[in-house]
């Protein structure tokens, strides 16, 4: 066993021990919390000679001893719904959304740091390793200021709950009482680890200490993820309650309360969503620094940073629809009515907005990649074909967002001869939409492939065959997707639904096989020229900002959809919302509110960025030596 290997093994053991020690109190506490009250309540009842009241879990259908109070039946008035002269729900919406934005950001950034720092540690190229290390440091620096804001916003959120929805909050905190202090303690652990991780960066720069430092980022992320899981259990409980009886009385098993029908799908969806969002925010930060940069060196560094953040964000964006699909499937399995309200009822128009957002995200990503090819010598050969990709994307996008029925005046309705346009109406159906979105994703994959091989020429012996194979593969992928979309019009709807499977499979095949094949072909490829970091157009940075704003907006939109699907229930089917605001707002109002939240978040975080630039330390000279643009970069750097 070499010295490096033994260090790695030792650090892994140390890491495991640290994680174990940190989680020990939680592990020890959970079973006793889950059973302790049940037992003690039961004992107390027996001692008093009273009859032990049992209840039946609304979700798990198990029997348990009633240990909690029933959900309060609220009435509209100052006792249950005290208020300012404003809609309380909107105030809570604002407080919640801001906390979530910042929370997501500070949970996502350490994951990026962990990945980038790890890349820096394992890479053999010293200059590149320093660049990665510096980048990870920059990332955590951004999140540190946002971290305290997250805590402040959390406090504001709790105060908002306490002052405007006291009955609801006291019920929910009564149910979750066994884990609330664990939540608080984990927050303390998260803060402590983060500060050691950040302030120990320079001290733990080399050798074994670097591995310990890297291990700390793993711990940081484990704690952060558990924190988020616990927070998710609240909203999971509100949407699909478990661990309580029909009256909302807690039955003593906290695990049932946490592990509700929608908890895990929500967890996965939120992790991926946070990562995509975090990538967007960091990319916007890089874009801001790029546009404000005074020197070529700075421009090069922030161009690279923006690219990495965008790539990470999009990497997590691609699986997000699949996680969303799982969540929706579980929603339908839990309550079909809830699924229908989301996808085919009251909230269905919001999903049309979501479709537009998805289109915008992919268009922005493609635009950025095409602009990025401008800084590569040798990529010119692809640029003349970009117009065809634009055509494919635009066609796919227009079909994807075409609504089935349209908003019309009676005169327009008469002129058109019906609710649907004779031509455009055909593109509003699901068959066409599936075709549209799959064309968009496949084209994005193609743009990425072109970008990855922009300044390179493959030197493998089978290069010609490989190129032809890739071309043919993409060609038939498009043919297959479009053919299935058209074929869908000729078959019954129930069979048509099944066509989405081969369409998605085609897209995923392009993603995985073509990326893998391209990587093989580009191994040891001949470089036509270096990537000239910093020589990218300013327009590309606006694409990054568009991406970040759209991510933020979409997050607000989907959060609103998820929350409003409960309609007039605080806790679905357990505790009714009897406030005057137990109705669902119009799409327009929701859009205005989301815009307000998005802009408030961005104004504050731009302020945070600006504050950060005021307090920026001079980057150490040795770190600057590795900044891209100053030396030719290896081909593997993107």
């Amino acid at each position: 066993m070499g010295p490096l290997t033994s260090k790695r093994v030792f650090s892994v053991v140390a890491l495991c021990m640290m994680v174990g020690l940190l989680l020990l109190p939680v592990v020890v506490a959970l079973p006793s919390l889950a059973n302790g009250e049940e037992v003690s309540a039961g004992d107390a009842a027996k001692k008093d000679g009273e009859k032990v009241e049992k209840g039946r879990d609304v979700y798990y259908k198990t029997e348990g001893i009633v240990v909690g109070a029933p959900a309060p039946v609220t009435t509209d008035g100052p006792k249950d719904y005290p208020r300012y002269n404003f809609e309380s729900r909107v105030l809570l919406w604002f407080a919640n959304q801001q906390h979530l934005y910042y929370g997501s950001f500070v949970l996502a950034v350490p994951i990026f740091c962990m990945i980038i720092e790890f890349m820096g540690v394992v890479t053999k190229d010293k200059a590149l390793a320093k660049r990665y290390d510096q980048l990870a440091y920059d990332f955590i620096k951004i999140s540190l200021t946002a971290y305290s804001l997250t805590a402040i916003l959390g406090g504001i959120l709790i105060f908002t709950f306490l002052t405007l929805y006291p009955a609801f909050f006291s019920y929910l905190s009564g149910i979750f009482r066994p884990v609330m202090h664990i939540y608080a303690l984990m927050f303390v652990a998260e803060s402590g680890t983060l500060y050691i991780y950040y302030y120990g960066w320079d001290k733990m720069r080399e050798g074994f200490l670097k591995w310990i430092h890297l291990s700390m980022s793993v711990i940081l992320n484990i704690i952060g993820t558990l924190l988020m899981f616990l927070a998710n259990s609240w909203i999971g409980f509100m949407m699909s309650p478990a661990g309580v009886d029909e009256q909302g009385r807690y039955l003593g098993n906290i695990w049932h309360v946490i592990h509700t029908a929608l908890w895990n799908p929500l967890n996965l969806h939120r992790i991926l969503g946070n990562m995509a969002f975090g990538g967007g925010v960091v990319a916007a930060y890089a874009a801001y620094k790029f546009l404000a940069a005074k020197t070529d060196e700075d421009r090069a560094h922030y161009d690279w940073m923006g690219y990495i953040a965008m790539a990470l964000g999009v990497a997590f964006l691609i699986p997000l629809p699949f996680a969303g699909y799982w969540l929706m499937r579980e929603v339908y399995a839990y309550r079909q009515q809830m699924g229908i309200t989301l996808m085919g009822g009251l909230l269905a128009w919001l999903f049309i907005i979501q479709a537009t957002m998805i289109g915008i995200l992919f268009l922005s990503t493609n635009y950025y990649l095409w602009q990025a090819m401008g800084r590569m010598r040798g990529a010119e050969k692809y640029q003349r074909y970009i117009k065809y990709l634009v055509f494919l994307l635009a066609s796919g996008f227009i079909v994807f967002i075409t609504p089935h029925t349209m908003v019309m005046t009676p005169a327009e309705l008469k002129a058109m001869g019906g609710q649907q346009h004779p031509v455009l109406g055909n593109y509003g159906v699901m068959s066409a939409k599936n075709g549209g979105i799959n064309v968009i994703i496949t084209t994005t994959v193609l743009s990425f492939v072109w970008y990855m091989r922009g300044n390179k020429v493959s030197t493998v012996s089978w290069a010609k065959f490989g190129n032809i194979f890739m071309g043919v593969f993409f060609f038939f992928a498009y043919i297959n997707i479009i053919f299935l979309a058209i074929y869908g019009y000729y078959i019954p709807a129930n069979v048509r639904v099944g066509l989405s499977v081969p369409q998605v499979a085609t897209t995923l095949s392009c993603l995985f096989f073509m990326f893998a094949l391209n990587s093989f072909m580009m191994k040891g490829a001949k470089q036509m020229g270096a990537i000239e970091w910093g020589k990218i157009s300013a327009r590309s940075q606006y694409a990054l900002i568009m991406l970040a704003t759209a991510f933020t907006w979409m997050m607000g939109l989907m959060g609103y959809i998820r929350s409003s699907v409960r309609l007039f229930w605080h806790v679905n089917e357990i505790m009714r919302d009897n406030s005057p605001w137990a109705y669902t707002h119009t799409v327009g109002f929701a859009a205005n509110m989301i815009s307000f939240n998005v802009l408030f978040f961005w104004i504050t975080i731009l302020f945070v960025f600006w504050l950060g630039s005021l307090a920026a330390k001079k980057v150490p000279v040795e770190a600057k030596a590795g900044i891209p643009g100053s030396v030719p970069q290896p081909a593997t750097s993107h």
Partner: protein, 434 residues
Amino acid sequence: MGNLITEAFSMGWMALAILAGLMVYFQMSISDPVAKKRAVFKTFIGIIAAFLTFAAIANYSNNFYGENRLLPMSLVMITVTTFVMALYFTNLSALLRIGGFMFFVAAFLSGYGNWLPQVEGGFPPVEEKKTWDSMTPQQLADEGEKIIFGGVGKNKEQGAIGKGQCPLCHAFHAGMLGERAPNLAGLPGRGKERIEDPKYSKGDPSKRDYEVKEAFPGSGTAENAQEYIAESHACPSCYVVAGYGVKGTNDKQSPMPSIHKPPISLSLPELAAVDTWMYVREGIDAPSFEELVKSYEKFIPEADRPKQADEKPAGATSLMADGSEPVDQIFAKAQCVACHTIPGIPGAMGTIGPKLEEGTTASQRIKDPTYKGTAKSATEYIMESIVDPSAFVVKPFPDNTMPKVFGQKLSAGALKKIVDYLSQVKTGAPPPKI
């Protein structure tokens, strides 16, 4: 547009004044003519940009709750402003351009959301099916109190109001002033006296000198106190207590609506619950539930009886109007029509409060030296008058007549419709379209 400019100035005058002061300072203090010109010009651009931003914010806040498709224009205005600012303030150029671009993206998405069909989810269905006939008198009385005041134990709370809306006009405790309707303290005992009043014409409704002779043809008159209470609910204009009639009718017509009809639409069991509370709170044994319902059946024909709350598809909301109704219905549901004359609104002939021609009068009242409210525009004044009626009381009407609960009992959408309508009603002009 004029309003918007005024609001922008009133909102941002301090910032604008500081910028103007700065401009003067630069003009006076900088000696280098090139630097002076640059500084003054930049500050001038700053003043225009700040003004545009305030106008955009004013537009946004005015239309926050509305379905105004021009709302995102505010965001576009801010975008243009930031880009113009970025040209002149190069130190903050990147920040301003990024911010402006974000505003543009948000404007686009807001506009898109407002362009789509606007669907609003309704209120929840009623909570539970009540088994009225098996309730004890106390339980019935509690239900009655909830219907009148919105909750058990709320009968002495100022402004407490339930779906029956009774406290809008009636007082319920001795010594409390009820200017628009009789105080209902002691009603069960007083019922007997009322039916002996010659004007009541017990047993012979045709001799009555009121707008309505009988609740419905053949219903007859009340024979006992409970029937009198039931008749008062079902047919308020069959007998009007002296001094409480609609002004100008010589007490021949009552301003009170029939309680079993829209907008209040209490069912017979709900009315029985209300009456039970009236008895129980005075320590009197109430008639049985069946007797109470029977008393109402005498004055309300089968076809007019509202279905019980639990049979309705939706209802049981504490809001008087949720904003989905046309404005005339909102006025009716909130009972504005009982006290105010509102041009263009059918049945709005009330004289207890001032005639509402706010398109003309609102701006005059803001300028009134005795005005102490915070409204700066006509729309703000109207909103203030609804949610805080005592902010300015029109002479010669008395204060504390109009309930202060409308801010909580009308949805934001309903309030906006009222404000929109009233702001268009002008003296001497034809009323606006509903």
